[in-house]
Symmetry: C2
Subunit: 389 residues, 2 copies
């Protein structure tokens, strides 16, 4: 548990020293009907969003933050009710690389956001009521893609009178959205910062995303997605989230944090099938906490959206990345088990093939993929300079 404690201490230090101080209000963007890239219409789309800093008169200082698979729009600051800090608090504040004295930083919940039960999340997905039936959509909700996430964000941004974004930045699934923004709407994106993400879901990731989702379908409470009003498939959802946690981490973290300690003193794992190691117990506990506010069908739709991702959603990856005109700063870690370092570098190479500036920065750490969220402070100076260029 040591590194978790340490992370909490660091967050506390950061918050007193230089984190964004403001209270954050959750706003709701009501888009109304939205037709997906695939041609299906969702009658009423609503997503939550929040912002830090002030939009200037020219409306040209906006930076959009796009969130990761299990994330929300809460990138910085804290809510009045619960005081929970944003996940990139060290990055977004007055004087931070994403300086709220200078930039208007905004962040929105995606379509099919995972955390339906979080009171600060507003999203539209299988758990939403279909106005046509008065019942939750369940698996009748249309397939949505990262391009749909971006289209909804674009409508939000345009509703604020913003015609060009100073930058789009996001980690993991947020990197996919950032790349999609830059590929599909190059006229609106001045800079792009994809963190721990690549230009498409490769075959291995497609297979892994299916494996992440599988425990949900195995849970008898899932009932082909028709569990609203009954017992939800919480065991399957927790197991799906446990797979995400493992895959997004690294052996060095597990070894340093848990070693081969037992879950319960006196209960040697060798003595009974039910006795566990500390690492199993901790993973299970965290997964159940996360499952308590998450929705299983939303998980399935998120997995699908990620599998389907290719920047620009065209015939080839090269074309999709060639469409990117914005200077690009890719940030990743060589220890990433979800997006292979070779595929991140290949993405930068394809973006840069036609002369678009595309640079790659490496983070160090022992959390694997998660270091893209937790260790972003390592490249604060480079990020500040990139945004100021």
């Amino acid at each position: 548990m040591r590194s978790w404690v340490l992370a909490a201490v660091c967050t506390a230090l950061a918050s007193t020293a230089w984190a964004y101080d403001g209270l954050v209000d959750k706003e709701v963007f009501e888009l109304g009907p939205y037709t997906t890239v695939n041609g299906e219409t969702i009658a009423e789309v609503r997503v939550g969003w929040e912002a830090y800093g002030e939009l200037n008169a020219a409306r040209d200082n906006a930076i959009l933050i796009t969130h990761f698979f299990s994330g929300t729009s809460h990138a910085a600051g804290r809510y009045a009710e619960d005081g929970a800090r944003g996940y990139w608090d060290e990055l977004i504040c007055a004087g931070c690389p994403l300086d709220t004295e200078r930039y208007y930083v905004l962040s929105s919940d995606t379509l099919v956001n995972l955390n339906v039960g979080d009171p600060n999340v507003v999203t539209t997905g299988p758990a939403s009521i279909d106005p046509a039936t008065g019942e939750p959509y369940g698996m009748d909700f249309p397939v949505v893609t990262i391009a749909d996430f971006v289209n909804v964000q674009r409508a939000l941004v345009e509703s604020l009178g913003i015609e060009r974004l100073h930058a789009v930045m996001g980690a993991s699934m947020g990197a996919l959205q950032a790349l999609e923004w830059a590929s599909a709407h190059p006229e609106m994106v001045e800079r792009v910062v994809p963190v721990i993400g690549a230009g498409e879901a490769d075959a291995f990731l497609i297979g892994w995303l299916d494996a992440w989702a599988a425990p949900i379908r195995l849970d008898p409470n899932w009932r082909d997605g028709d569990y609203y009003g009954g017992e939800p498939p919480t065991d399957g959802l927790a197991q799906a989230l446990e797979l995400v946690t493992l895959h997004a981490n690294h052996w060095e973290w597990a070894d340093a944090t848990f070693g081969r300690a037992w879950a319960v003193e006196g209960e040697d794992p060798a003595a009974a099938m039910a006795h566990r190691f500390a690492v199993e117990d901790a993973l299970d506990r965290v997964a159940r906490e996360r499952a308590a506010v998450a929705d299983a069908n939303h998980f399935l739709y998120l997995a699908k959206a990620n599998q389907l991702f290719r920047a620009g959603h065209g015939a080839t990856l090269a074309d999709g990345l060639a469409a990117i005109e914005a200077p690009t700063l890719m940030i990743h870690t060589p220890e990433d088990l979800i997006f292979a370092p070779e595929l991140v570098r290949a993405t930068a190479t394809l973006i840069g093939a036609d002369g678009t500036p595309a640079h790659v920065l490496e983070l160090q750490g022992r959390r694997g993929h998660l270091d893209g969220v937790l260790e972003i402070g390592q490249v604060a100076d480079e990020l500040r300079a990139f945004l100021a260029e």
Copy 2:
């Protein structure tokens, strides 16, 4: 599918050129009652075994092959009935590195072997009949460890009048058995060749093994392990096996084999939640084929045995590895996602700390962990020399 076809072609070439030619008979070793390291007694232990080559008069030319998690004792040759080739056919034959003109190579099914439904596998585990009740043990079967696997193998070896093994060699879980042999019975092991394995299960692997097993427990047919005579938890078992396949592979293989091809022509994965990519379909198909002959409870017991592994099963890893006196040749791949390269090298360092010769060889390939089984031919010369020293 290209690399699978290629693998089949290579196997065919190898078999005509230099594979072990002999038909292999499955033998059964009846140990009778066996008391586990943990102090529980299994009334009747039986395991299958097979051998290639001839035991010499001095009985000092025996090499023991220990099998991997989803493997069996069928390391080489072919059965008269089905012609299926052993998994290390290219390694074990007349003129091969494990030269059957020179060595007596033997291999046994472990306790709780996964493939209970394979007619050529003989094992004892939860699916076996408990003589005390006349019913399968189910989850009443005692916890067994890699040390128990080795103790049963030792009884088999001694029953053949063999007092010392020329070498013990195995891949993955087979490497753990090889290390346990050398640590617990140094007087019986002259050389040890652990392939794609390390000195203990680290915390990350312990967590992953739990995640591998979880789909079984989610399957309503599992019924706390009491499914014999009813419908077995085949869906959960297949999903568990799919996780093993993914984890034992690597993105380069998936990318080259499947790319982003669709499972079914005309069924765009973007068009419906049920439409899949080729990689998902292939992983599912392979997993279901494997699940058809495997047993879910045996999977759970295997996962436990692997989690519990530390060479020598003592208080520290350093002591367990210091007990190894046999010259050691560790073979692994830097792309391994199951046993981290750093932990393989650390194992060799600890074995060598007291002067025991311990060398590490690296394989190249794009199958990750599986290259330890599939690409072992790359180090044929080094292996031949090591065994002849």
